[in-house]
Symmetry: C2
Subunit: 176 residues, 2 copies
Amino acid sequence: MPAIWILRLSHRVGRDFRVTTHLGLVGRAFGAKGMYYSGDKDKEMEKSILRVNERWGGEFKVIYTRQPIKLVNGWREKGVLIHLTMYGLPIDDVISEIRGLNKDILVVVGGAKVPSIYYSLADYNIAITHQPHSEIAALAIFLDRFYKGEQLKFEFSDAKIRVVPCEKGKRLYKGP
Amino acid sequence: MPAIWILRLSHRVGRDFRVTTHLGLVGRAFGAKGMYYSGDKDKEMEKSILRVNERWGGEFKVIYTRQPIKLVNGWREKGVLIHLTMYGLPIDDVISEIRGLNKDILVVVGGAKVPSIYYSLADYNIAITHQPHSEIAALAIFLDRFYKGEQLKFEFSDAKIRVVPCEKGKRLYKGP
């Protein structure tokens, strides 16, 4: 199974704390291996994601990069570069093709204003609707389509805590 | 087609501005009629969502409520009350049943800490994975499943501006 990584551009301390944390947690829950981020280095944001690994399992990584363009160029040599943008092609038109490549994927997610070079460098600029909404929702739908919904059943074998699904209320199972 | 509304609980000015805005914009882009919210009244947040209607079309509503429990109780008499929570039942197990009811839906989305009464009042507590991630992603996947992916093709007939999908770069169409 190809590995999926996220690149979150232009993170800003404070202002982007929650959106970037949500991106990381969606990535983790929906089967990505980790998230690179550029912009401001933010230890608190990193911790808020990694803390979830400790209790809920998995090895999702959060890695700061000062040189996102270099990362992107390096990635293009071995894998597929995808940029999520409302200006791109509809996901339903390209997702089968992308899955068929059977290559590792880097999913680039903006930031406030994405420099135009990312549109050029991307192998695929992909739209999750052509409406303005949320990079978090766009990432969720991208991973959902890539994994054909199977990510909703992912389990983390090393979790210390698990949900016991129930109709009303909250139930947790603690233990191996 | 049944109408879907969102109820965002316990909005906090400042801290929740972007997350609540994203919830509204995902709701709008993915076919919901509007969003109620409780907690702090926040004109700026309302504007940031309604501004999108002006350019991109549609009549998505944002309505403040001081009495979310009363709203929920009123809703239960005419429609279905859904609460998105990682503690609930897997969405794949219940979505067909919910669609089959053919009733208007109120989707309740937490807030920091959701009072237990919402778990009791909900007709369905639904989990989008049993992992902690993002209410924005959860709402997106719920609407996606309800509309069977058709929401990715929604168009707003009164839009002043539209995206022309393209492989590289950004193209907009302005006009009727």
